[in-house]
Symmetry: C2
Subunit: 305 residues, 2 copies
């Protein structure tokens, strides 16, 4: 089983308006509500693939109850006293404008309760995917704690986060880390544009921070993997237009499934490239188009890096 962790989930609201007029009043024509949070997107993709999955994390208040009611994946969230946050995306036919609430404050007691539940889930897990930001109150090394609890029970971790949570999470030696270029730059405290040659050096420095293997997501340019078996670039055979928001989560879903099934590199890389691309063509994060996935999979370009 794959356990996905979402410590700072959200109720994602998408408002459709005719046109966004700053300082105007807008009658929203349609409201879409869905459970939000990168770990929940990973779980939804895994569920679509027919993979055994359990989503966990923290939920609280009326908004947390609403998120729980909308979940379509097996889930065991730990309750907190604070209100789960919302995000609002305003779509106006041209593009989207986003508003992201801060997360609720988590108490030390709630965090302790979560880690105890998490340790129990590890008895039945093969792989754990840790995705997204930490809410206020969760220690900055929270992911490191979870990665160690998982490793104690022989469970391998995939980490997908940014900033301090990423840097400290790496110190616990996750099996795999999936930064994008910006997250990698943040990790290196250095965000100047890099030439192609630096890309491998950067990814390798991320590995030196503690991750066993690194997969860097590079948008339409595909993925770069530094593994124990070798280093490869994987690039989709077509440039697909659409919504790239959930592509990273689909990538983490593919990597988690590959770890669980012990899919060898670079086959796992090709799988992650095709599944990421299959997320781009769907309008919402957490969805993948399986026809696109099957069509692209045999045609992914993989080359030694």
């Amino acid at each position: 089983m794959i356990v996905t962790v979402t410590l700072n989930p959200a109720l994602d609201l998408t408002y459709t308006v005719d046109a966004l007029i700053p300082h105007g009043t807008h009658r929203v024509s349609t409201v879409a509500e869905r459970p939000g949070g990168k770990g929940l997107n990973v779980a939804t993709v895994l569920r679509t693939l027919g993979e055994p999955v359990l989503a966990t994390g923290l939920l609280g208040g009326a908004t947390g109850g609403r998120v729980e009611g909308l979940l379509t994946v097996p889930a065991a969230f730990v309750p907190i006293g604070g209100e789960t946050r919302r995000t609002v995306t305003v779509a106006d036919g041209v593009d989207a404008t986003g508003f992201s609430e801060p997360g609720p404050r988590v108490t030390a007691q709630e965090w302790a309760a979560f880690t105890a539940h998490f340790a129990e889930f590890m008895d039945e897990a093969d792989v754990v995917a840790l995705s997204g930001s930490l809410p206020p109150g969760v220690p900055a090394d929270g992911y490191a704690t979870l990665i160690r609890l998982a490793a104690d029970r022989g469970v391998r971790s995939v980490l997908d986060t940014s900033g301090e949570a990423l840097r400290l999470g790496l110190t616990a030696g996750p099996e795999l880390v999936k930064p994008n270029a910006t997250e990698l730059a943040g990790l290196l405290s250095d965000d100047r544009p890099r030439a192609r040659d630096d890309e491998i050096a950067d990814a390798d420095r991320a590995r030196s921070h503690g991750a066993r293997e690194v997969v860097v997501s590079r948008g339409p340019r595909g993925l770069l993997a530094l593994t124990r078996q070798g280093s490869w670039r994987g690039v989709p055979s077509e440039h697909l237009l659409g919504n790239p928001t959930g592509a990273g989560d689909a990538c983490v879903a593919a990597l988690s499934r590959g770890l669980r099934r012990r899919t060898p590199w670079p086959r796992l890389l090709a799988d992650a490239v095709a599944l990421s691309a299959a997320a781009v063509v769907t309008p919402v994060a957490g969805a993948v188009d399986l026809d696109t996935y099957r069509r692209l999979l045999p045609a992914v370009h993989v080359s030694a890096a």
Copy 2:
């Protein structure tokens, strides 16, 4: 007792952002949540004045539960299956940008349950204030039904709505109607700008639609009242700057209290002018500044219209 009716309440969210950037992503620094809806604002003002009040209406789902939890007035809402709507106001230091969700669909059975509860409340009511829009599913003549149920028990109604709900509501002969200039224009199917002379004729036509008395809110220019005792204009002695959103609801609160206490015209008009102005100086709808109210009350200019 005064009963206030809010058939389409909302959870009002106010987001603070540094600057609103269309098609950008915004980290919200603070989130304020409050119960929204014109009838709830009226109830809150009455409560501040120490007046006996009961707020009723329709609430549903997790958002309805959240609204109920935030209420600071005595309330007896009728549950519905749909989700109570939200409004989002984005404040960026310059001005506010508003987004208003449509209301939930109300079933015929839920509306019947509401009217039965409403009829029971009328046994203890002196005055009922009916404010705001009707959610989908409530018949367009919903306010007319409530005004008749109230009148059957000798309870007088104050109506504050717009469009078809206003036009049909008037046919039941409410004691008092409080349109603003735009609502009046909508009622007359005629929204061209009007000269001062037309103002009285317009208000009188609204009376001919069924209301016994009419008070037109005219923004900083105060109020115009056409009553059985005569017609007057009431203008505040000072032009106050601030947030005019809740001024109309404070006006309805003053008028409802005046009806209950049988305050004679034009004293009631002066009271409504001062309380409306006392709402402008507070940052949120539903609040009034009692010091401003007491200071302005003796200085309201009242003249025969």
